[in-house]
Amino acid sequence: MAERPEDLNLPNAVITRIIKEALPDGVNISKEARSAISRAASVFVLYATSCANNFAMKGKRKTLNAGDVLSAMEEMEFQRFVAPLKESLEVYRREQKGKKEARKDKDKKADSEEQDKSREEENDDDDERMEEEEQNDEEEVDN
């Protein structure tokens, strides 16, 4: 089943909420416009990924890291995103650290990734974590 990248879309409810909050009260959005913005968001991810990957390759790395994504934003002329993204990243890192510590207390079994702050881990582990993230973070779940 060849799924085109363009078919991978992001949850409608979340996209709609983000749009609504960006616009003044009382403003509506047509279904077509919302759907187009959703598709644009997917294209954005694909383009940003490709851009970020160039930076990773330049650095002779196989793993995309946060810095590559930030560099991609500048390259794509979205420099104004960089500062807020850095702030979000700080919050995220703190939160991950807190989560890890909480988990360490719960799980007696040694997970062996304690010190890994930069989180450059294998796909498998990542997938596992992603599953967890999905359960935790997803609002309108398209199960």
Partner: protein, 113 residues
């Protein structure tokens, strides 16, 4: 557990973000907020690129946040055109106008049809 803490104008993110399934925190638009887009979906898009081998969890997070900022930006930019047309409903053509007029959105040309 106040995970996110008091950061640069961001309101309290509510009960343990990431702890509950419906991560519906208060709508605080501050820059230092956690992602609303599910990271797993963003990651699926990242994996769709055959040239990408691995992406760190942080990279996926930053991408998710960047995408949210992008959605906000393009919605606002498109809305300018709706206002010009004295409409209170954002329509597809407003988006097309924004994409054509704004350089940063050039990468979208031809991709939304």
């Amino acid at each position: 557990m106040a995970a996110a803490g008091p950061v640069a104008g961001a309101e309290a993110p509510g009960p343990g973000p990431g702890e509950e399934a419906a991560g519906a925190g208060p709508p605080c638009p501050g820059p230092a907020r956690l992602a609303r887009l599910p990271l797993a979906r963003v990651k699926a898009l990242v994996k769709a690129d055959p040239d990408v081998s691995l992406a760190s969890q942080e990279a996926v997070f930053v991408l998710a946040r960047a995408t949210e900022l992008f959605v906000e930006t393009i919605a606002k930019d498109a809305y300018v055109y709706a206002q010009q047309g004295k409409r209170k409903t954002l329509q597809r053509k407003d988006l097309d106008n924004a994409i054509e007029a704004i350089d940063e959105f050039a990468f979208l040309e031809g991709t939304l049809d």
